[in-house]
């Protein structure tokens, strides 16, 4: 894992024993959960579109898609629910120095997130088991609270992360947290833009991933209405998301230079303050020197500061002990931007060609690209999280609490990390095996997937 190699560089003698394993544990469990959380947020809206079409237009193809997607979501939401629970436990297990003093500052949005998780779980249960047991239109409406819960849930979870970047709602007096205002903490300066960024990212991940599944089917010659609709609905969601995202990202990063200058310097690989700053593509910082970078003059100032002259503050103006791991932050940031730009370009090309009367779904190269666009979007998502999280280091609460102070002294956490790797690998394998077997049986013409323990002997024979 590259993250571990790079965080090793950070290790100094005074770091508590629980720091490095806690970091890795958090990176693994959060990085895994975030993908499933995206499905929880964005999938209900897509299922709603095909389900509604199935009912309103009496379209059996759309209705079948909705049924299949709801079964897929049953599997994904289950492992999303349990991996989210892991995070709840980890907050206390890994970061006692954060949760003890700051739990009552940052906790409120989690309480509201809990509510939205309740709503999502309740209506998921009703929706999944409601097929054929409820009036169709009421059944369809069960998706609405799920989608709404996705919005609220994202806002609340992101609120906590935004608070870690832009702390608010308390004052420190002699090292004690006082004057706690949980509402001010929840509605901090950053929350709205960061929420939008993540919410739209969820639609990119799910939109590209689901449409990619049907692109693979078309590559294998399955060019029926089922595959076309299965591609186009999520692709439309992905299109809107991919085209909006660059603007949101730009606005979110707008005043980063004032807020977190070290993070911006790492993003832009600015070792020294240059006016105007170039946009630095690639490159590595070795012993205080930038090597192998391609510089585009002025563009750095223009993008980061909205100015032709205002520079990006260089790392050499910031105390060494406040530097994040620069190379990882820079590369993660540029990976996110690069993939985001590529995906936005691809959707523009698709719709432009379609407007000109050419269907790129007839082209194998485009289908191949569509097939990998889902994994690419996931990489961009993870890279974005690495950029913002690693870029905030060495702070867990920016400017207030260092990550070393938040960790515990438990060196046994390495065992936990090892066990987590095994369990998550098993869970990933299980999910892949089950989802693939579902797809195989659907292709073979099975519509309902009966419980494998099903009591009727007819099903025993089918096995």
């Amino acid at each position: 894992m590259t993250v571990s190699a790079l965080t090793l560089q950070l290790l100094t003698a005074e770091d508590p024993a629980g720091l490095l394993p806690a970091r890795e544990q958090m990176a693994l469990s959060l990085g895994w959960h975030i993908v499933l959380a995206c499905f929880g947020v964005a999938f209900p809206a897509m299922i709603f579109v095909v389900h509604r079409r199935g009912i309103v237009r009496d379209d059996p193809v759309a209705l079948e898609l909705a049924k299949r997607w709801s079964k897929v979501s049953a599997v994904l939401f289950a492992i999303g629910a349990v991996s989210g629970t892991v995070l709840s436990f980890e907050m206390g297990l890994l970061w006692p120095g954060l949760m003890g003093p700051f739990g009552d500052v940052l906790g409120l949005p989690f309480a509201f997130e809990g509510l939205s998780f309740f709503v999502e779980a309740i209506f998921l249960g009703i929706y999944l088991y409601g097929w054929g047991r409820m009036p169709p239109r009421r059944h369809l409406l069960m998706l609405v609270p799920m989608a709404a819960a996705g919005v609220v849930g994202t806002f609340c979870v992101i609120s906590v992360n935004a608070w870690m970047n832009a702390p608010a709602g308390f004052t420190m007096v002699d090292g004690e947290v006082t004057n706690v205002d949980p509402w001010a903490a929840m509605f901090n300066d950053l929350v709205f833009m960061q929420f939008l960024h993540m919410w739209v990212a969820a639609f990119m991940v799910v939109g590209f991933a689901v449409s990619g599944v049907y692109a693979v089917g078309m590559l294998r010659g399955r060019r029926d209405p089922h595959h076309r609709l299965g591609f186009i609905v999520p692709f439309v969601f992905a299109t809107v998301a991919a085209l909006t995202q660059p603007f949101i990202g730009h606005l979110l990063g707008g005043n980063l230079g004032d807020r977190q200058p070290a993070k911006l310097a790492a993003f832009e690989l600015a070792e020294t303050t240059e006016s105007p700053s170039p946009l630095r593509l690639g490159g590595v910082l070795v012993d205080g020197e930038v090597k192998w970078a391609i510089d585009i003059p002025v563009l750095g100032s223009l993008i980061a500061q909205n100015s032709f002259t205002e520079p990006v503050q260089g790392l050499d103006t910031i105390p060494e002990e406040d530097h994040p791991p620069v190379n990882l932050t820079h590369w993660a940031f540029q990976t996110m931007i690069g993939i985001g730009t590529l995906l936005a370009g691809a959707v523009v090309l698709f719709w432009f060609m379609r407007w000109r009367g050419r269907d790129l779904l007839e082209r194998r190269w485009f289908l191949r690209f569509a097939a990998v666009s889902g994994p690419l979007a996931v990489v961009a998502l993870e890279a974005g999280w690495i950029a913002t999280e690693v870029g905030r280091q060495p702070w867990v609460v920016y400017g207030v609490l260092r990550t070393t102070e938040a960790a515990g002294s438990n060196s046994g956490l390495w065992w936990l990390l090892g066990a987590t790797v095994v369990v998550y690998a098993g869970m990933t394998t299980g999910a892949v095996v089950v989802l693939r077997s579902m797809a195989r049986r659907w292709r073979a013409g099975e519509s309902d997937l009966p419980s494998p323990y099903g009591p009727e002997p007819r099903e025993e024979v089918a096995r």
């Binding site: 709840s88 003890g100 739990g103 906790g107 989690f110 309480a111 997937l449 419980s451 323990y453 096995r463």
Partner: protein
């Protein structure tokens, strides 16, 4: 009522709901585990799938609710409890993860072999998980979790109160699940299955009752503060629990599982509530009181807003879900 008391009451409602509804979901693993081979156990396992499938995720959220309320309202005690009880907490977490994932995987497994593997993981983790949660409760109730910092990693939960707490948790979960599954089986007309479940629930009920009685003696020595509370303030609840437990057994003997669900819920609710009342006013027994452990008042007030919203939004939705799953339309399929 003071602000911290209101919040702790709201938190304890979550503990209670998780013990009852989450507990019943976990308990179904016991019957799944002991259902026999793939052919013989098929009917029961399908019933388990059908009974807990629509509700387990919603019931699971009570745990999240409890954790979130706890770390927001009483942050220092959350940090010290998690640090001290890291082992049983992690083992419970492992069980929760394996239970949820393998339950979903089993339902859509492509082959019988896979279904058996996922089913075995689901059933074993369902049975085991409540033990560790019960051990956590025992550690807190016997005064082994310090108000700040970290207590002993091992003796904090490897002690008589925790062991009995764990065993009682496993037993009550299975008891609850048994009455619910029996009633479900009766409603869906599976008479032979209902009969088998009824007999096993009776056995589970008698064994659990015996364990609760056996626990009373070691508890007096191991957890004096809790025992004082149970014998004093919480005594009516202890009596209520015993009466409701016996009533459940009688109802099951008379083949009336539907009302037996109510008395079983009452019996378990009285036990859990009895624990809470018995250790009042402590949050962590002998270590810190609810009032002293509370975080910022502004946060407690804000949490009450969340609680009111939960009462307005979540409770009606949850009621709707339960009513649907217990309705005739949803039973036959």
């Amino acid at each position: 009522m003071t602000l911290p008391m209101l919040v702790v009451a709201a938190l304890f409602v979550g503990v209670l709901a998780y013990a009852l509804f989450g507990g019943a979901d976990f308990g179904s693993g016991f019957y799944d585990l002991t259902a026999g081979g793939a052919v013989k156990g098929a009917e029961l396992r399908t019933l388990v799938d059908h009974s807990i499938g629509p509700v387990w995720e919603a019931n699971h959220v009570w745990l999240i609710y409890v954790l979130v309320m706890w770390w927001t309202a009483f942050p220092e005690t959350f940090a010290s409890t998690m640090s001290t009880l890291i082992l049983p907490m992690l083992l419970a977490l492992l069980g929760i993860v394996l239970r949820g994932a393998s339950f979903a995987f089993r339902k859509y497994a492509g082959t019988l072999g896979q279904a058996r593997l996922f089913g075995a993981i689901f059933a074993v983790s369902s049975v085991v998980t409540p033990f560790f949660l019960g051990a956590v409760a025992g550690a807190i109730a016997s005064g082994r979790v310090p108000a700040t910092g970290r207590g002993d990693l091992w003796s904090s939960w490897l002690n008589p109160t925790s062991m009995f707490g764990g065993a009682i948790a496993v037993g009550t979960c299975a008891f609850l699940a048994g009455t619910f599954l029996t009633a479900d089986a009766v409603r869906s007309g599976a008479d032979r299955l209902a009969e088998a479940l009824r007999r096993r629930t009776l056995v589970v009920g008698v064994v659990t009752g015996a364990v609760v009685f056996a626990a009373l003696v070691p508890l007096t020595r191991d957890a004096p503060t809790l025992t004082d509370g149970l014998a004093g303030r919480a005594a009516p609840l202890v009596v209520l629990s015993a009466v409701a437990g016996v009533a459940t057994l009688v109802l099951l003997l008379r083949r009336r599982p539907a009302p037996a669900r109510v008395t079983a819920l009452a019996a378990v609710a009285a036990v859990v509530l009895g624990w809470g009342v018995a250790q009042y006013p402590y949050l962590l027994v002998d270590e810190i009181t609810i009032a002293d452990a509370a975080g910022a008042p502004a946060t407690l007030r804000a949490l009450l807003v969340a609680v009111v919203l939960a009462a307005v939004i979540v409770v009606p939705a949850l009621t709707y879900l339960f009513r649907l799953t217990q309705s005739e339309d949803w039973t036959h399929h």
